[in-house]
Subunit: 356 residues, 2 copies
Amino acid sequence: MTSPEAREEAVLEAVGKRRELVNEALPEELPIQRPERLYEASRYLLDAGGKRLRPTVLLTTAEALADVDPLSQGYREFPTVDASGQPRAPETIDAMAAAVSVEVIQSFTLIHDDIMDDDDLRRGVPAVHMEYDLETAILAGDTLYSKAFEIMLETGAKPDRTVDALEILATTCTKICEGQSLDVDFEERNDVTPEEYLEMVEQKTAVLYAASACLPAILQGADKETIDALYGYGLDIGRAFQIHDDVLDLTVPSEELGKQRGSDLVENKQTLITVHARDQGLEIEDLVDTEDVDAVTEAEIDAAVAELEAVGSISYANETARDLVDQGKGRLEVLPDNEARELLCDIADYLIERGY
Amino acid sequence: MTSPEAREEAVLEAVGKRRELVNEALPEELPIQRPERLYEASRYLLDAGGKRLRPTVLLTTAEALADVDPLSQGYREFPTVDASGQPRAPETIDAMAAAVSVEVIQSFTLIHDDIMDDDDLRRGVPAVHMEYDLETAILAGDTLYSKAFEIMLETGAKPDRTVDALEILATTCTKICEGQSLDVDFEERNDVTPEEYLEMVEQKTAVLYAASACLPAILQGADKETIDALYGYGLDIGRAFQIHDDVLDLTVPSEELGKQRGSDLVENKQTLITVHARDQGLEIEDLVDTEDVDAVTEAEIDAAVAELEAVGSISYANETARDLVDQGKGRLEVLPDNEARELLCDIADYLIERGY
């Protein structure tokens, strides 16, 4: 058995190599063209970094499905297999186009979310509406939105599979909007239940992981059982990812987060942690006095975190994330037993073990 | 020969009947569902009215292509023809879904444009960001965006044609964003040429007319010559539509416009009229003293319009629009000679003869 440290290092290396390839592909799929300022603004957040976790899930799922060794095949001309796992050479798909499309959707949602949430910083740099202006940020997001569809149309998959891929992309975007709407509504409410919170997270965050995981199956023409299992894997790990993100917002130093630690608490954002703590009788609104992220002190955040820990809410969030990851990993048995499938399990673990 | 009045009345009736059918289909394709506030905001502007000109162009083009009498066939199960014009019964398409998709895109762009242009009124009612708030308006637009793709996926056309339809929808949205970006940039410039203005209008406005006109041809599997001719017709009448809109902004009383007359001048928006007038040596920036739409007087607007008329700029805009409409009508010869084709010609005329 491999040590946890060695496993995490292997995941980071695997994610890192795919990130490099995605970073190379992004300017190919999204060149700066006229009107330049619009495309520069559209690329600004993408170029600022990001772990490229969703594209990595997509590319690794493609490898597991095709039963090929990780990184052994070029993603631009990726082999396809039929429903029984037999190769369909010379039919190939551009898996990288699908991966970039998903990352572009993610970037569009971040740009618009930062406007809606009035967040000034993202990935340690100014949000697009701060670096440029509100008008440009709205328009940059809108441009990425249609570009993601254009890019997904370029995988070279057969028309019926392309239609299915576009359908999952469109319904995913709709669900992300619905989830963001619930998230905004929740800020005005103090009676959100854990079930409601998890529904919101599923729509706002997890569906894009789900789409990433099942898109290679759709584009390759896999059977419904496989597509559904991969979608479920993505939903599980996506929810776990968001729950872990909420934990990190409370526990990771501001400089590592790239924004103020505890900002969710200050802005009265619902998380699984606060929803659970309220059930334990804690007065969430009183945990932090200010509603101004720039005015809050580290000591105030420390005290709030201690109270949340005392009622077991942070442990509860960690356990829920762990259960979801284990459930998601179980769904991967539908895939051939190979190295890429192992990697998908390790990525799932990494999503809730990462420190930032 | 029919009198101009009788022709205009016939067009208004034809547009009106299709508008009723589109208005019936809209809530079917876009029901109010959870989260209700998001869907209510998404429907708000659509429900406030609109002439449904783009869906009307789409539905009438479908009739001309299939060589059927206007309104003789249900749009939900519309007959298709092969490249030589022979019916392909029992293959039908849902032309209404395509028409609604185009109108939904139009509504999404209006919601986001009103935020960017800081316009408080639209169709005589508060803009979505005024009736709701900025966050909800951004999100309502984003929701309509993906819903338009979902709806376009439901025409029942063959997968390869659906892929082509989605491609035209995606590239159209990208161009609309590019055009809006140019429009915003132009507000900061005072050296925009007529060519640049027409390029902006093509991208911002005309491409959606072009998509509306050629989508039935794409969905029915018409030949490239037909698709291209219809796209050209849409580009021509769409540019003419926008130029006429710019004229109306100066000449129609505020109460009929649903917003302050002359607001383009006040906000220093470029139009073909101002670009031409500047070429004639007029100081456009001095035409209206204020930059506040609420502060401008009718007398100031009247004086500005008189100056623009004196240098021939309003006539120039009217003539350019007329030339474009005539060019667009000429392209329709690719269609069978039938009543629906006549109606497409009349619609083109109506776009530059309408009084509001």
